[in-house]
């Protein structure tokens, strides 16, 4: 069980107890490292428990496709080992004109190159997958049946539990206040729960990463800003009504699917910020209802149970910053996921653990080089929805 008692020392300390911090701790502990996670509220409370649940490999660049392919393998493995809901029910991108189709054909070619079985299908095939869809304006769809979704609650809880079984410590309701640094070396952290001696720190605070970087005195420019995104859930309906994640760029950059509990969950590209405010807005409720009911008319008669907000911790190219920051020893960052943190987490945990324990990794971590912003080497915009 997570505790509120900070240990005196830990070789490695992960700041931030979202899915990224928890899976990193899980992976490091599994490899026999001494690791502690410090979370200012409760595990998952930042962005993880507010996320849209989707897990996809349909990206538009080689690095993200490879990383997400690995991530899906890990999602599958751990959901079976630990028994939490993860289902490969696919991602269905609805396409409405030739230009969109051409773009997706290019994406599909990249995905196929790495063995992700995405293909272009007809509107009628899309309707077979989700009979509730309005396909009157759809010209094609990009379909990968191996994408999926997972319960953020049950998966994070399972990773946390097993991280602890491997010896990791999870400390909740404890806020990091300052770094203790001597001659460019991290010696410890001051927190609301006392001091912890530690030599290696991993900043996994995503939307709050810039605050921790500033606390550590990092001068390297790593622009990560918190944007408010919102989500909605409807009353539960018959299971299997909307199996895949359905995406429509035409209708508000919307994504929607059905949770394992039966409600229709999702969001649109209605972004506010940068801000740390998380109050849901009336405008979102209207936007999401307008777009969702265009995509699936039957939603008109369903009750909205709740809306809520979470952060997209965005970088200028919508790709995270993952790697070692050399101006301090030893300091790593894995943040700025721009709405993709939940889906990427298991692969990110592997990359970061490789870097910490071996100094290198087989996954294409260079793509997420934290120094790219300073060097002016932005990546192509990662495909983002919501």
């Amino acid at each position: 069980m997570p505790t509120r008692n900070l240990p005196e020392k830990s070789e490695i300390t992960v700041i931030g107890g979202g899915i990224v911090g928890v899976t990193i701790a899980h992976e490091l502990a599994k490899r026999g490292e001494e690791v502690t996670v410090i979370e200012k509220r409760f595990i998952g409370s930042g962005s993880t428990f507010r996320c849209g649940t989707g897990i996809r490999q349909q990206f538009n660049d080689e690095a993200n496709v490879q990383v997400m392919k690995r991530s899906v393998e890990l999602w599958k493995r751990y959901s079976e080992e630990y028994g939490f809901p993860f289902s490969q029910t696919g991602y269905l991108f609805l396409l409405y004109d030739d230009e969109e189709v051409e773009t997706f054909k290019r994406n599909i070619a990249i995905q196929n190159k790495f063995g992700v079985p995405t293909r272009l299908i007809t509107p009628e095939e899309a309707k077979e997958i989700v009979p509730l869809l309005d396909i009157s304006e759809v010209v094609a769809a990009s379909w990968n049946p191996t994408d999926g979704k997972a319960s953020p609650f049950h998966s994070t809880a399972a990773f946390a539990l097993h991280a602890e079984e491997f010896g990791a410590k999870l400390v909740e309701y404890t806020e990091v206040k300052d770094f203790i640094i001597e001659n460019g070396e991290i010696k410890g952290l001051k927190t609301s729960g006392g001091v912890i001696k530690t030599g290696i720190v991993i900043n996994a605070t995503n939307a709050w990463a810039k605050l921790i970087n500033a606390m550590a005195g990092i001068r390297t420019k790593i622009p990560i800003e918190p944007y408010k995104h919102q989500a909605v859930i409807t009353q539960p309906i018959k299971k299997g009504s909307v199996k895949p994640m359905v995406i429509s760029f035409k209708y508000g950059h919307a994504y929607l699917t059905q949770t394992s509990h039966g409600g229709i969950i999702g969001g649109v590209g209605y972004e506010l910020g940068p801000t740390y405010d998380l109050n849901p807005t009336y405008e979102f409720m209207r936007e999401v209802s307008y777009y969702f009911t265009k995509i699936i008319p039957a939603l008109r008669e369903l009750l909205i149970l709740r809306t809520w907000a979470g952060h997209y911790a965005k970088t200028p190219d919508s790709n995270p910053a993952i790697g070692k920051i050399e101006e301090l020893s030893d300091y790593y960052i894995a943040a700025g996921f721009s709405g993709h943190g939940f889906m990427m987490a298991p692969a990110v945990a592997e990359m970061v653990s490789d870097l910490v324990t071996k100094g290198k990794t087989d996954l294409p971590v260079e793509w997420y080089d934290p120094y790219r912003f300073e060097r002016g080497e932005l990546r192509g915009q990662a495909l983002q929805m919501g």
Binding site: H154, P280, A298, E301
Partner: protein, 492 residues
């Protein structure tokens, strides 16, 4: 007269409806659950887990009406020849009519008062005539819980006569009945209160908002506490005093506050027994017997839960108010002007549980504070003094009967969350209500915790030894009441 009618109904309004293919006598405009009750039919819908449900405890009441699925049976007003059938919660209408989006209505007022019980009416009595007011009431009557009472009320005398006196509104007070507020949102100088009436979206722009949103009846935990024939106190009062129908021929009253209903039962000569310690109800399609913790068996056909009320904290937390725990329930933290924050006031049993007249005085107190804010002379301290004469009700913190109950049959909430489901998580060592909520779906369904969160908190507190005031209580998110997507989907 139908089997459970207490009063003669207007014969010119008599109609025939069909439920599950069988004809029943009903009255034009009568609520569907009331008509079925009058005919002795309690089971109206079925939960996703296959549990039979009526309309008087918790959980939604979706039914098929003339072939259309997922119609809210609780609010359904009957017309001649309607054909109604049971359905399960998860059935929905796959083919829908795309009706024209209704144009948005917008009203700009000085003050939006949400809730027209004695507190809301007290506010309006003070400020009406001086300020423009929108009085927003979800029910189709004014007077809130007091309208449901037949017996004399302290400070008011006859409740209906008192309400009639209070509802002679001046011209600048607009009343919106059957109108459900969806939340309160900040819009610079104004607050936006979106609301829905009969699938029509209404936006109220108000400089000040009063939450006179009242309380909810406490849900008691016993086996089959969701069974058709189990009543919340407020629903029992409504069927008796608004619709003239008895909850049953022989009724059991359970809970710590039986006097909140027994005087009304006496008035109508409804046969009842008081059973302080219910353990289980049983029956085929409805309650047929109640068994208490001592093993006594009572043959009854309805059970009324009268276990006290607690403030409805959802409007408060959605609006950004904070809570504290006192006298056995969570209540809003208010400043010396009775505000939960700048511009948002709270009055009545949304603040604390007390008699109707005390809520009315509290409404007048809030009205006086608002008048002062708008530059009028007013004396809040007079009402402040009067209000001190009333000590809010202290509700003893119930001891949940955790041993000796079949926790699988005890519904913590109407959305398929059993006592066992939550208790298993708590006993596995997870005692953070925020996590428990997400792992069990407690407080994440139709009522957003209105009826189940308190018992969830109680369970955690009792199992973990953490005092109630130390628990991290999840806040409500908009919409504070469910709304159909089509209502808010329109574009101007």
């Amino acid at each position: 007269m139908r089997p459970l009618d207490l009063t003669e109904k207007d014969p010119s309004r008599r109609i025939t409806i069909y439920f599950e293919g069988k004809p029943y006598e009903a009255y034009e405009g009568e609520k569907f659950p009331v008509a079925m009750l009058a005919n002795g039919v309690y089971w109206l819908t079925t939960s996703t887990e296959g549990r039979k449900r009526g309309a008087f405890t918790f959980g939604p009441v979706p039914v098929k009406v003339n072939g259309v699925k997922n119609v809210n049976g609780r609010k359904l007003k009957l017309r001649d020849g309607m054909r109604i059938e049971r359905q399960t919660y998860d059935e929905f209408q796959e083919q829908v009519e795309i009706d024209e989006d209704k144009p948005l209505l917008r009203y700009v007022v000085d003050v939006a008062v949400i809730g027209a019980g004695p507190a809301g009416l007290g506010v309006v009595e003070d400020i009406g005539g001086k300020l423009t007011v929108a009085l927003i009431e979800e029910k189709d009557w004014l007077g809130g819980d007091m309208w449901l009472k037949g017996v004399e009320q302290e400070g008011f005398g006859n409740p209906r006569e008192a309400i009639e006196k209070l509802t002679n509104f001046p011209e600048n007070v607009r009343v919106f009945l059957k109108t459900t507020a969806l939340g309160v949102f900040d819009k610079g100088e104004y607050f936006l209160v979106p609301a829905v009436r009969n699938d029509q979206l209404i936006e109220f722009m108000a400089k000040r908002v009063v939450l006179a949103t009242g309380s909810v009846d406490s849900i008691m935990l016993f086996e089959n506490n969701d069974y058709p024939g189990v009543f919340r106190r407020s629903d029992a009062l409504e069927v008796i005093n608004v619709w003239g129908v008895a909850p049953g021929r022989k009724v059991a009253v359970v809970g710590a506050f039986p006097e909140e209903i027994t005087a009304e039962l006496d008035r109508w000569g409804i046969d009842y027994i008081v059973v302080p310690n219910p353990k289980r109800v049983e029956g085929t399609d409805k309650v047929e017997r109640l068994i208490d913790e001592n093993g006594n068996v009572y043959e009854v056909d309805a059970v009324i839960m009268a276990d006290g009320r607690i403030p409805d904290i959802n409007p408060v937390t959605q609006t950004g108010g904070r809570l504290y725990f006192k006298r056995g329930y969570y209540r809003p933290v208010i400043d010396s002007n009775h505000r939960i924050r700048d511009g948002i006031y709270v009055a009545g049993s949304a603040v604390s549980i007390k008699p109707h007249h005390a809520n009315y005085i509290e409404g007048k107190l809030v009205g006086a504070h608002i008048l002062r804010e708008f530059g009028f002379d007013a004396e809040p301290c007079i009402y402040e003094e009067k209000l001190k004469e009333y000590e809010p009700v202290a509700r003893p913190i119930p001891k949940l009967p955790l041993e000796g109950l079949n926790a699988e049959d005890v519904q913590l909430c109407g959305c398929g969350v059993t006592l066992k489901k939550v208790d298993d998580v708590v006993r596995s060592g997870i005692t953070d209500l925020q996590i428990i909520k997400r792992l069990t779906h407690l407080a994440m369904g139709f009522c957003q915790g209105r009826f189940c969160l308190f018992n969830g908190a109680l369970l955690v507190s009792q199992r973990s030894g953490t005092p109630m005031d130390r628990l991290d209580i999840p806040v409500a998110r908009p919409p504070i009441k469910n709304v159909k997507m089509k209502v808010v989907a329109g574009r101007e």
